[in-house]
């Protein structure tokens, strides 16, 4: 279900010698994002990690021609769900996330903090301002502004949700802004024909450690395993029944609820549709890893870091990733 979308994200192939990361490759190690990182912080937060992840990834896919020719997204999608290839999926996901988070940052006008925030920050009064310097409207991205306002109510609500979600992550992780896309069967006929990708709403959510927005079904993995187990067990039972009394298995089939009144769905079925039949396109991500902010902002500086991240978002990049809006019509 993701493959349609991979086209959006441009293909990159990985060779053994160098794993190309789109935006990190463009960045210079000596020129950190202004207003956000010092040279050392930039090195610690991005390049040391990227180097490590790509080295690990290269060593894990060594000698596997098929995997080496795949893009990071494909690696995440194919290996992230499998337990035996999990380390490949994890390193690919970490590298992709880091690269993706950096790609939408342009920097801000502020100077780096001279003194790192102290523990007084813990009891500080919250900022009550309702307008912010860096909003999509200011940079002329009205389409994005509209999408955010219809999905979250207002810019303030969105900012509060986004930054608080990131602030709450205690270890490594990313906060994502994603656009939700239903499977084509729920979309209109015209979408199916042209193969356009349209979204209906934006969401904010977190992934932890090497989690990826492309393997959303991971959250449901225990349910899926249980379902698979039950299916196998049922098959085995029905086979046994058939060998002993073929008539009994027929009556069993008749009693399953799905044979009657299909429009009344059970709770589990509804849950399944809600989780499995939707996909999410990431628009931008914020890295919550202490490796990113600890050097420049100190132990109590995550809030300050997030404020600056907000001021540094390049809304043009984010809007370019936004699919077309899906106009739902009640026919």
């Amino acid at each position: 279900m993701l493959r349609n979308k991979v086209g959006l994200l441009r293909h990159r192939s990985i060779s053994i010698r160098s794993i190309s990361t789109r935006s990190l490759d463009k960045c210079s190690r000596e020129k950190p994002i202004p207003g956000l990182f010092s040279v050392q912080g930039w090195q610690n937060g991005c390049f040391d990690r990227a180097d490590y992840y790509s080295a690990q990834l290269t060593s894990t896919i060594k000698g596997n021609e098929v995997l080496q020719n795949k893009s990071l997204e494909e690696l995440i999608y194919e290996c992230g769900m499998s337990s035996s290839k999990r380390n490949i999926g994890n390193y690919a996901s970490l590298l992709y996330n880091l690269d993706f988070a950096v790609s939408s940052l342009k920097g801000c006008q502020m100077d780096l903090p001279e003194n790192k925030p102290t523990r007084d920050v813990l009891l500080e009064n919250p900022d009550l301002s309702l307008n912010f310097n860096n909003e999509p409207n200011v940079t002329g991205n009205t389409q994005l502004q509209d999408a955010i306002e219809t999905s979250f109510g207002s810019m303030v609500q969105f900012r509060t949700l986004l930054l608080n979600s990131n602030l709450s992550i205690s270890g490594d992780g990313f906060t994502w802004l994603v656009a939700r896309i239903y499977k084509p069967k729920i979309q209109s006929m015209s979408t199916q024909v042209t193969g356009e990708i349209k979204f209906d709403e934006l969401f904010v959510f977190n992934t932890y450690n090497a989690g990826s927005p492309f393997t959303m079904n991971k959250s449901n993995i225990m349910n899926n395993l249980e379902k698979e187990y039950k299916r196998l067990e049922n098959e085995r039972n029905s086979k046994e029944d058939e060998t002993v009394t073929p008539s009994k298995s027929n009556t069993n089939n008749n009693n399953t609820p799905s044979s009657y009144y299909n429009e009344i769905l059970s709770y589990d079925e509804v849950k399944n549709i809600a989780i499995n039949d939707t996909t999410y396109v990431p628009l931008f991500a914020i890295d919550a890893s202490p490796k990113m902010w600890l050097h420049d902002y100190g132990v109590f500086g995550k809030k300050e870091y997030l404020n600056r991240i907000w001021n540094s978002i390049d809304w043009n990049v984010v809007e370019n990733r936004l699919p077309q809006k899906y106009e739902f019509k009640y026919n």
């Binding site: 813990l122 009064n125 900022d127 009550l128 608080n164 709450s168 977190n206 932890y208 450690n209 959250s219």
Partner: protein, 268 residues
């Protein structure tokens, strides 16, 4: 009867006894009572001004300069107006605190704040800690309605806000921001724990839905059976009152009874 004031003279008497040498050492309470001598004025005095608000309690009779409903001006006091009541001058005035009004307003606007668990001694400040309300969050005190009230009073007293309502609003908005942060923190920590392998029990809503689903599936079975019976009857109406039908009906009613019992069991 004369006011019995002997008991309150205990300090003077003891002092005299000490002077004259009737008793040698002052009793243990002597210094304490000397520092806080008992009240000796027993006459009730009228208070013409309300000590809380400073307003006069004396109501002077003033007629309105308007025509009353009979089309006349009232110029003289009637018998009711002439009755002199002095009760109100002797009554203790009600204690009115601004905090109480703010508390009432806050909890009317946020009824669910009452459902949060609260430590009863929280407001009495038994820990001896002096809270600094220049910030709404305190070490050793959870954020709740009381924080909003104390913070808005602080803002008002220190002239950081020009009116009570703007102070209250500012405190309230600060409170909202922190509450939002806390709520997301709770959600994220549950989510994080789940991602790292914790298995939580079913939530109250899940539990309710499961129970409901059981009853619904029972109901569904019953309904399907009944519709089958109905459609069979429609297909062959001439046989509907035959002896066979009566027999099946009886069995049907017993089955129904079983179903009810089951549902009751589930509900229990």
């Amino acid at each position: 009867m004369k006011i019995q004031a002997n008991a309150v003279n205990v300090l003077e008497r003891t002092s005299n006894y000490l002077n004259s040498g009737v008793i040698k050492t002052p009793p243990a309470w002597f210094n304490v009572v000397a520092k806080n001598p008992p009240r000796k004025k027993f006459t009730r005095e009228p208070k013409f001004n309300n000590p809380v608000t400073g307003e006069s309690r004396i109501k002077s009779l003033r007629f309105k300069d308007k025509v009353n409903n009979k089309g006349l001006y009232k110029t003289r006091a009637n018998s009711q107006d002439k009755v002199v009541t002095t009760n109100s001058l002797y009554k203790p005035s009600k204690l009115v605190y601004l905090e109480d009004q703010l508390r009432q307003l806050f909890y009317e606007q946020h009824p669910w704040e009452r459902s949060r668990p609260k430590i009863l001694i929280e407001n009495s400040n038994l820990s001896g800690q002096n809270y600094d309300w220049s910030k709404i969050q305190q070490l050793g005190k959870q954020l709740d309605g009381e924080s909003v009230i104390q913070r808005s009073l602080y803002l008002l007293q220190n002239k950081e806000s020009d009116s009570l309502m703007s102070a209250y609003d500012q405190a309230r908005f600060e409170f909202y921001r922190i509450r939002m942060e806390q709520e997301i923190k709770e959600q994220v920590s549950v989510e994080e724990a789940e991602m790292f392998g914790s298995v939580m029990g079913p939530s109250a809503i899940d539990f309710g839905i499961e129970k409901e689903q059981k009853v619904i599936s029972q109901w569904k079975k019953k309904v399907i059976k009944e519709t089958e019976v109905l459609s069979a009857r429609r297909a062959n109406p001439s046989e509907s009152w035959s002896a066979e039908e009566v027999a099946t009906k009886e069995s049907g009613t017993t089955e129904e009874g079983d179903g009810k019992d089951e549902i009751e069991e589930l509900l229990l």
